[in-house]
């Protein structure tokens, strides 16, 4: 009876021992998990109609500032390793421009000014794609303090602008954020 019992026990228990056959697994690898998503998003855009800007043909400056509070998000801020800004400008106004993008902190201090030179419209459509502005290391640290984006547009001398002027100055820009989530 005893032998019989053990025989049955062996038959029953042996299949469970098969559990012992397993490749080496290393669950600590979870610690190595590192997500590196690359996120693109709109940065800023504007479309200035020539007939809304009225001047006498001399140098003229227009200015506006907007909140830009994405860096207040600690999760985003701490994991951002690099950011790229891509800007393209299309000018169909017969004046040259200097477009300045101002990165500002909470005290309205200008942390950085990025300038884009725009030639006057000469009759053929012209979309200028400016070189990518790359923010890494110290430049990135400045960017992370940014809470406002200002635009200061210097309009070079040329034909006066009035209600009948045609054309517009269009800016489109996108940001690429390189995140590392560990």
């Amino acid at each position: 009876m005893k032998a019989y019992f053990f025989r049955i026990l062996n038959i029953l228990v042996l299949p469970l021992l098969f559990f012992s056959c397993s490749s080496d697994l290393d669950f600590d690898q979870v610690k190595d998990l590192k997500l590196e998503p690359v996120v693109v998003a709109n940065l800023a855009y504007f479309d200035i109609q020539a007939n809304k800007v009225i001047d006498n043909g001399t140098t003229n400056v227009i200015y506006d500032v907007r909140d830009f509070d994405i860096f207040k998000d600690k999760f985003f801020n701490n994991r951002l390793k690099r950011a790229d800004f891509d800007v393209e400008i299309e000018n169909t106004i017969q004046r040259a421009f200097s477009v300045n993008m101002l990165l500002m902190n909470a005290n309205n201090d200008v942390l950085e000014t990025i300038s884009f030179t725009v030639p006057a419209y000469a009759g053929s459509p012209n979309v200028i794609k400016y070189p990518t502005e790359v923010f890494e290391n110290q430049r990135l640290d400045l960017l992370k303090q940014t809470v406002k984006i200002g635009f200061s547009i210097v309009i070079a001398p040329g034909p006066p602008l009035n209600q009948n002027s045609t054309g517009s100055l269009k800016l489109r820009s996108g940001a690429t954020a390189y995140l590392v989530i560990e």
Binding site: M1, Y4, I8, L9, I11, L12, V13, P15, L16, F18, F19, S20, C21, S22, S23, D24, L25, D26, F27, Q29, V30, D32, L33, L35, E36, P37, V38, V39, V40, A41, N42, L43, A44, Y45, F46, K52, I62, Y63, D64, V65, R66, D67, F68, D69, I70, K72, D73, D86, I149, G150, F151, I153, K170, R172, S173, G174, T176, A177, L179, I181
Partner: protein, 465 residues
């Protein structure tokens, strides 16, 4: 060996399983067979399970990857493994776990010696987890949106539910005639913790459209909802306690209550041609304890900063706008969850008459016994999106008087070569059983897409002559 235990317990702990008990089903020398068909042709004078050891089962299944794919110690970077798993998965791949532990169980015949009516009862603890592969969200997390311009990331890919509950049950089955056994069981569920997020929809979209003022068209349309019961307390900062013991306490003594039934039958067309069918866990839980529903519903278009130079001061605040467009709302409404309902049916043909010296004690019951049985079983289980189905072919053999073996071959979502083995032996009144499936994968269990086991110990008493 240690590592293999870890896998087993990981399975048990994560408790994600297809609940098909194809080996147990209609394995009538095991009293627990009546848990998957209350109308199973099980007979005894009385039986009781060894407390806490009468039924221990765990199932783990993942239709697109195995533990090996993620955790193999082979020098491949873990992030590459994650990426491979995500890439080869589809949104309909699922991870399922189910774990059950019988706390006590028993049964007895009612009426006289000639009666063929039985009452059974018991309590068990159960853990269920079900999740679809959140493919689009995983891609977004891994890669971001830069390389997916024009793609809508589907928020509906997020679909999961989990529950810990205890079940108290009383069943009755009766051999109505030589041809028919009918049975039913009433269940009271006590759910200690429940989380459901299965009705999500919406998308995250980044596109580029010619003629629009911005570089990208960016939209988040969200219809997300997470309902929880018995969990909200633990998510609060001020909670200081032991989550495991608190959930265990709630599961048995302070759970959300529900009701359910099982029903089943066995019918013999002939002595050796048998049909069975059952429905298990047709029931609901009214989630009412510590309930919290969190929703994120709305649509948000992201435009970036937009100066107009016209002196209009229109303060833009990305977070405020986002929160306004897709607010987080917390509700405390009771809700009802349906238990995952299982259905089984089988057809069995028996052959090879059993001859035994003991057969002469048949007290006038000239019932033939057979050594072999073959047949097929079908299994269905309700699940979010579409039900889960499985087909099993089986062979059952009576080796000795008190030793039965059952082998199964199952086709399902997780595998098309799932071989199961079951053994049930009785020494005196002591019944011990062990059921495992996917034995082909046991040569390297870590590579299995699913694995299930069930073991248990019972004392079963038949009439003595």
């Amino acid at each position: 060996m240690k590592k293999s235990y870890l896998i087993v317990w990981l399975f048990a702990a994560f408790s994600c399983f297809a609940q098909n008990r194809e080996v147990l089903y209609n394995f009538t020398s095991i009293p627990q067979a009546s848990m998957v068909n209350p109308g199973a042709d099980v007979s005894y004078k009385f039986y009781f399970g060894v407390p806490v050891l009468s039924g221990i089962s765990a199932n783990l299944g993942s239709s697109s990857f195995s533990a090996y794919d993620l955790f193999a110690d082979n020098g491949v970077d873990f992030n590459d493994k994650v990426r491979n798993v995500v890439n080869k998965s589809s949104r309909n791949d699922k991870v399922i776990t189910n774990q059950q532990l019988e706390l006590f169980s028993g049964g007895f015949r009612v009426g006289g010696r000639e009666s063929r009516s039985y009452i059974s009862f018991g309590a068990y603890q159960e853990f269920d987890f079900f999740m679809f592969m959140p493919k689009d969200l995983a891609l977004l997390g891994l890669d971001g949106n830069r390389d997916y311009i024009g793609k809508s990331f589907n928020l509906g890919d997020l679909s999961l539910k989990a529950e810990v509950l205890s079940v108290f049950h009383v069943g009755f089955h009766k051999k109505v005639s030589d041809k028919l056994v009918l049975g039913g069981r009433a269940k009271i569920y006590s759910s200690g913790a429940n989380a459901v997020s299965t009705k999500n929809s919406g998308y995250i979209y980044t596109g580029q459209t010619a003629g629009t003022p911005n570089i990208y068209t960016q939209t988040i349309s969200s219809n997300l909802e997470l309902k929880t019961s018995g969990i909200a307390t633990f998510t609060k900062d001020e909670y200081e306690g032991n989550i495991v013991s608190d959930i265990a306490h709630n599961t048995f003594f302070n759970g959300s209550l529900g009701l359910g039934v099982d029903a089943g039958l066995t019918y013999y067309f002939k002595d050796n041609l048998q049909f069975t069918a059952s429905i298990i866990d047709l029931g609901f839980v009214k989630q009412s304890k510590d309930i919290e529903t969190v929703t994120y519903k709305g649509t948000y278009h992201y435009e970036g900063a937009n100066p107009d130079f016209m002196g209009n001061n229109d303060p833009e605040n990305i977070f405020d706008e986002f929160d306004k467009a897709i607010p987080r709302e917390t509700l405390h409404n009771k809700y009802t969850t349906w238990r995952p309902t299982k259905m089984y049916t089988s057809l069995q043909y028996s052959f090879g008459e059993y001859r035994s010296d003991e057969d002469c004690n048949c007290r006038g019951q000239i019932k033939k016994r057979y050594k072999n049985a073959v047949g097929g079983q079908l299994f269905f289980m309700s699940a979010p999106r579409t039900p889960i189905a499985a087909f099993t072919a089986f062979y059952q053999r009576n080796i000795f008087e008190k030793l039965d073996v059952k082998a199964t071959y199952t086709f399902d979502t997780f595998s098309n070569k799932n071989i199961g083995l079951g053994l049930s032996g009785t020494i005196g009144s002591f019944n011990i059983y062990a059921l495992v499936n996917n034995v082909l994968e046991y040569k390297d269990i870590s590579k299995a897409n699913s694995a299930a086991f069930q073991i248990g110990l019972n004392f079963v008493f038949q009439d003595k002559d």
